[in-house]
């Protein structure tokens, strides 16, 4: 018989509260360490011995042709996909491979999806309320009441993403660009350390793209932001450092100018 059943002091997972992990330790200035990570799907190597470091507070752009492994990389960091080998650390002390999606999210790594994923049936305000950085157990949420500072925080984010006037509106009625912003708002509400942002400006108008660039730039320093984007002009407007992925590994890293003049990058994008 399993010892857990005999041990009177054993606490089973299902009665335990949310995992309160130690605060992330970033004293070496690195927020995410990915080392020699490989993932394959039915023999196809989506990530091939990839190593990547994201610094604390930096804004990093990830580019690469389709199938380069950008989305898989985000899946690995957020716990959706388990790598076949390699290690993924958050700061020096937190092993992300030992955690599931909710635990990783609670530890401070949040993600915006490629396709805007907001809760259509809920109002804009409620979308932000759910995302709020608060206790997320079933029992706590049953009796949760918004406190004054929490309301202020939601108002602040509503202003930031320019949706104050739509706070009571069902999210499903928002325009595509507004949904993208709402999802960025959802990320901000979680007060994450690391934000993974997949294609934030897809389908946006020119003005919206500019505003999104401003918004992301303003986050630099407080959050580590990893942006995956195909829109090169947008990447140029925000990027300090760009990482190019190709066939599941890092092809090269550098400033946008260095990248654009790198013959290997040109070859990958344009072919021979």
């Amino acid at each position: 018989m399993n010892n857990a059943f005999i041990d009177r002091y054993h606490t089973f997972d299902f009665v335990r509260g949310p995992v309160v992990s130690a605060p992330v330790d970033v004293k070496h200035g690195v927020a995410l360490y990915l080392e020699e990570v490989s993932v394959s799907f039915d023999g196809f190597k989506a990530l091939n011995n990839l190593s990547l470091y994201i610094n604390d507070g930096e804004l990093r752009c990830l580019i690469g042709p389709n199938g380069a492994g950008k989305t898989t990389l985000m899946d690995v960091i957020t716990g959706k996909t388990r790598p076949d080998s390699g290690s993924v650390y958050y700061g020096q002390n937190i092993d992300l491979l030992a955690m599931d999606e909710p635990a990783i999210a609670q530890a401070g790594i949040c993600r915006k999806f490629q396709k805007p994923s907001v809760f259509d049936k809920l109002s804009v305000f409620e979308n932000l309320e759910l995302a709020m950085n608060a206790e997320k157990g079933a029992w706590t949420t049953l009796f949760a009441e918004l406190s004054g500072p929490q309301r202020d925080r939601i108002d602040e984010v509503l202003d930031l993403i320019d949706l104050s006037l739509h706070r009571r509106q069902q999210a499903g009625f928002l325009s595509h660009g507004q949904k993208q912003w709402l999802e960025i708002g959802i990320l901000l509400m979680q007060e994450p350390k690391v934000m993974l942002v997949d294609e934030p400006v897809a389908g946006m108008t020119h003005q919206e793209v500019e505003r999104t660039a401003e918004l992301l730039l303003s986050l630099r320093g407080r959050h580590s932001v990893v942006v995956v984007e195909h829109d090169m002009e947008f990447v140029r407007s925000i990027a300090h450092k760009v990482t190019v992925l190709h066939e599941g590994s890092v092809l090269t890293e550098g400033t946008m100018d260095e990248i654009q003049n790198d013959p290997r990058v040109i070859q990958v994008y344009l072919g021979d």
């Binding site: 299902f14 959706k80 909710p102 999210a105 049936k121 809920l122 309320e129 079933a138 009796f143 009625f173």
Partner: protein, 363 residues
């Protein structure tokens, strides 16, 4: 206070008012008016209406699971029947020596099977508080174990529906067996008294109707409170975008599990109130068909509104009573036709239609 409580939700206020009226006025009509008067409700109608109210409670429980969590559970009848069996076992123990065989210790069917001792799982059912506990605990435990395994393994959609269907089917087969000690295919019946009240007496039937009505109102208000809390919003969110909710840091499986368990307990109460009003419980209640019917009630009324489930259950069952009286053979065809019409033309049920007409339909 009361108005504020039901602010922007006149449907909920209306359903509570109607249910309260039914709970109070029908018993009064039975007591005040003489038989023959158009306002008189016979004991038969009182029990019939009481039965509808328990079905409405059952439908309400499914609406929590299906309408809010998005789990199309095709086995909600299993929890209802287990609650019913717990009540049935208590009622069997109240028969005492008045059974056909007059055995002081064993129920008739055990004497018939030539059993000598009462099985251990029948112990304690002489006491109503214990039986009451079991009416809640047995469905809750089954829902917990089942939900724990299914939700943690992230079984969803049609696969989950099929497993819930299999669950209730397996229980039906098990309860059909005499060796199980629940009366085999005859089930439990020939009840005499509940808490010392004669089950055949009009006053007892009235009390049962009032209890069913009160339980339904209380359950409705509890469900409404649940779904208006932040938990309700998390559950609504996970119905539409489960993985997104997980990436917000919520343990989705726990939310589903607790709602599923709560719904199973409501279904158990419904079953426990149903059994003394119909006077029998047998394994046929586990039949997958019964669980499918509950889905039709909720679909007709409109899922995800709570009151829709109540209205749907009462309308469909009233239709069933009328039609099976007039043309019994066409009932199942009618039920099928109703389901098809609702699915194709009224995906949000009658309440969805009503909300659209009054301009309050959301997405």
């Amino acid at each position: 206070m009361r108005l504020k409580f039901f602010a922007n939700d006149s449907e909920s206020a209306a359903i509570v008012a109607v249910l309260a009226a039914v709970t109070l006025i029908i018993p009064l009509c039975n007591l005040i008016f003489p038989p023959g008067s158009p306002l008189y409700f016979s004991a038969y109608s009182v029990s019939l209406i009481g039965k509808y109210l328990t079905f409405a409670l059952l439908a309400l429980s499914l609406d929590l699971v299906w309408g809010y969590c998005g789990i199309l559970a095709l086995g909600q009848g299993a929890f209802f029947t287990l609650g019913g069996y717990a009540m049935g076992m208590y009622l069997m123990r109240q028969i005492g020596t008045r059974g056909v065989y007059g055995d002081p210790l064993l129920p008739d069917f055990m004497v018939f099977l030539d059993w000598q001792v009462l099985p251990w799982y029948w112990l304690g059912f002489d006491y109503f508080p214990f039986a009451l506990l079991m009416m809640l605990a047995v469905p809750a435990l089954l829902a917990f174990v089942f939900g724990w395994l299914a939700f943690r393994s992230r079984v969803t959609g049609v696969y989950l529906s099929i497993i819930t269907q299999a669950l209730t089917y397996a229980l039906m087969l098990a309860f059909f067996r005499n060796e199980m000690g629940f009366g085999g295919n005859n089930g439990l019946t020939d009840f005499k008294e509940l808490l010392g009240f004669n089950l055949q007496a009009d006053s007892t039937r009235i009390m049962l109707l009032m209890s069913s009505g009160t339980a339904l109102i209380a359950a409705f208000l509890a469900c409404r409170r649940l779904m208006q809390s932040k938990l309700g919003r998390v559950v609504t969110a996970l119905r539409d975008q489960e993985s997104r909710v997980r990436f917000l840091g919520y343990r989705v499986e726990m939310f589903k599990l607790w709602v599923f368990v709560f719904a199973a307990m409501l279904a158990g109460i419904a079953g426990a109130l149903y059994v003394p009003q119909v006077g029998i419980i047998n394994p046929g209640e586990f039949s997958p068909l019964n669980s499918l019917e509950i889905v039709v009630w909720v679909a007709v009324g409109g899922r995800g509104t709570l009151y829709g489930a109540i209205i749907g259950a009462i309308l469909v069952n009233y239709g069933k009573t009328v039609l099976t009286g007039l043309l019994p053979e066409i009932w199942l065809f009618t039920l099928g036709a109703v389901f098809i019409v609702v699915t194709v033309m009224l995906p949000d049920g009658l309440m969805g239609l009503w909300l659209r007409k009054t301009g309050r339909a959301g997405l």
